[in-house]
Assembly symmetry: C2
Homo-oligomer: 416 residues x 2
């Protein structure tokens, strides 16, 4: 009998990888990568040296000496930083270090939702959150976004509809600060309105704040979790917001360290679901040691650098796409959400661009309407160098012109 | 309406954590921790400094520049080490770095099994593997162990039974080299016998080799994956063995780096299931840089240290339990599998011992018969210092005497 190993695989798995990884595309506008020159190599090295000399032998125990919630000094730093920057009152006991914010998404999903439940997501949102829900068979519905984020009127309608349908919403997944992909920041009054609706309909809010440290202005609104805290305390109830953050965007994506902030009854039930024997300890130790001295100054520098790249991206879009590319300049982060004219199909554009070494996220990957979303694209400007941004966008305009006649005219430089 | 957050949790979750972690027990004979003094702090620091100076900016991209299978120099080291130590022929392309071997277990389970399947596990085996299968609703059956590991006669019976029952076995989960918990090493002829049976019944072998570098003798048999390779090649079929290893036991548990070795068709289907955006890069970089110069000499030193602790544990068992504690001295690793007389209930012993700061794994946690296994216990000697081992085992004997009259006599020192 011939041995067909794939006959032993489970059914319904995602498509297999085509081949081992070779290299990143030449013009890489996807993936949440960050600016190479901004990695604080020297400070990270010094932090590693210091913390290993002081505590290196603790690597002999799972969880170091801090237990399953993660390295205590890192949790202490996070508690302090989130207090100062986002008005949060949580202590280290309300923090769980995760292996990137993606593990936070997995854990919250495991805690709360299955195919019998319902989730509300922003109509344009992080693609990885949507694919996770889809893999678990969890239905979701999209809520409209305006310039200030979630539209409360539409949210109220959806929450009521779901209740009437006997399938009340378990949680609202939102990225209020530097929304992915719009780059917008939800104002405080809007945050309060969303919280009120969640309270009225007894659902939770899952606040994904991974980009919040990258607000250009350097000042971000209080987190939704912070805004719910006074009422929660007054009413003697748990906070309605489960918060997640990350160091991937503020320090380095390849360091897989994120965190959840939630009330103890929530964390207590998440802990037994985190069965990985702890998040990488060296990464936690080095980050904690680095952050206590350098985090604030580092994110200041990084923000300025990313803002400069953002400006270059905007200039390149205007120069090469003209009025065909519509977008609202982001208020922080590493991406721009672009709308192209009707008639363009960004999924096909992405495919054509990939053949010429240009990677973009088509709207289909980053929206609840998926394949029906044909005119949007997300461009990440964090990683490519200035020249790559200019050249990549010029080439992309050339391909878009060739395939869709949009933009109508392109400069000579981009005709290849 | 009062807000009861737990009413929103999914049903069927494991028990929540009781309280935030405080500290390890004073006499810690559980958890796979390792010897603190053996952590190569200086070499790890030098490795971190070197690799960050050379490649630190690559932290700006997910997966560094190596893609989703993990840091290429680490995969190259693993390929070389596994070739030299275990006879394996795999290249870096057949290796996937995982966030500890526990993620390897999760990925292999996701790839292969659901509630409709069947798995064979060794009758005494790693508890975390059993709880994972149970959480997924995957049924498993235990195969008998003798001094050389899996009993092939019993394995043949089970495989046939399952086929007759229309529920053929998907994979055999085995820890052939430094079996957990027995500490035995399966000889080559036995490995071949198991491989033959797997071939005859068209099932896979999942070889968990996390302790293999810790064989006292310094020489381990070829891995089962290595032994299947020539036939696989001759027959033009995939290797029947999915292999997993780890650096948790050989370098440091708190570094969360393990790996899977499998044929590309298997890895290609595992890759889209690994949705964590990569395993911690700093840990991979530092490990790779450390290992190429120091791994061999480090494990030599570590083995000697652990063997000394093992000898102390054996002496303490003999001194305090006398003939009441039966065990086969392990051939490597960090634990001893002890059988106590009928009448002892090790689950209750573990509970009583915990009250006095002594942590042990009762047989119920480490065997397929679970609660029915009342006379076994696993003692990990990797982490406690010599004095803690002596004192902890003396105290444990005192508690066992008090609760079960076993051992019949205890020395004065242990009467507390």
């Amino acid at each position: 009998m011939a041995f067909d190993v794939s006959a032993l695989f489970r059914s319904g798995l995602p498509a297999p990888a085509a081949a081992p990884f070779k290299a990143f595309p030449a013009y890489n506008f996807v993936g949440g990568h960050n600016d190479g020159g901004s990695i604080p190599v020297q400070e990270l090295t010094e932090a590693a040296t210091r913390v290993l000399a002081r505590e290196g032998t603790s690597l002999a125990t799972y969880g170091l000496t801090s237990g399953p919630q993660g390295y205590r000094p890192l949790r202490d730093f996070i508690a302090g930083w989130m207090h100062d920057s986002a008005g949060m009152q949580d202590s280290a006991d309300e923090i769980l270090i995760t292996s990137g914010s993606l593990q936070a998404l997995d854990l919250v999903n495991q805690l709360l939702v299955g195919p019998e439940d319902m989730v509300i997501a922003e109509e344009a949102t992080y693609g990885g959150a949507l694919t996770r829900l889809a893999r678990l068979g969890v239905p979701y519905v999209g809520v409209r976004l305006d310039a200030d984020g979630i539209d409360p009127t539409h949210l109220a309608e959806l929450l009521e509809e779901q209740e009437r349908a006997g399938k009340p919403v378990k949680f609202i997944y939102t990225i209020p600060t530097v929304q992915n992909p719009t780059g917008g920041v939800m104002p405080v009054d809007r945050r309060r309105a969303i919280l009120d609706l969640a309270a009225r309909h007894n659902c939770l809010i899952f606040e994904d704040d991974c980009y919040a440290d990258l607000v250009w202005s350097g000042t971000r609104p209080p987190s939704m979790r912070a805004l719910d805290a006074p009422a929660a305390q007054a009413e003697g109830r748990p906070n309605r917001v489960i918060y997640c953050g990350s160091f991937s965007k503020s320090v380095a994506p390849a360091l897989r360290v994120g965190f959840i902030m939630a009330d103890w009854p929530v964390l207590a039930q998440i802990l037994p679901l985190k069965t990985d024997a702890g998040t990488g300890a060296l990464e936690q130790m080095v980050l904690a040691e680095f952050c206590k001295d350098h985090f604030a100054s580092h994110v200041n520098r990084l923000r300025a650098r990313l803002k400069a790249k953002c400006d270059i991206t905007i200039a390149a879009l205007e120069e090469n796409f003209g009025t065909a590319a519509e977008f609202t300049p982001p208020l922080g982060g590493i991406f721009i959400w672009v709308t192209l004219p009707d008639g363009v199909n960004t999924t096909r554009l992405a495919t054509e661009a990939a053949k010429e070494g240009i990677a973009i996220n088509p709207g289909a990957e980053w929206t609840v309407d998926g394949p029906d979303n044909t005119t949007r694209m997300r461009l990440c400007f964090g990683h490519p160098e200035e020249a790559e941004i200019r050249e990549g966008i010029a080439r992309l305009a050339g391909i878009c012109h060739r395939e869709f006649g949009v933009p109508e005219r392109i400069s000579n430089a981009t005709q290849s």
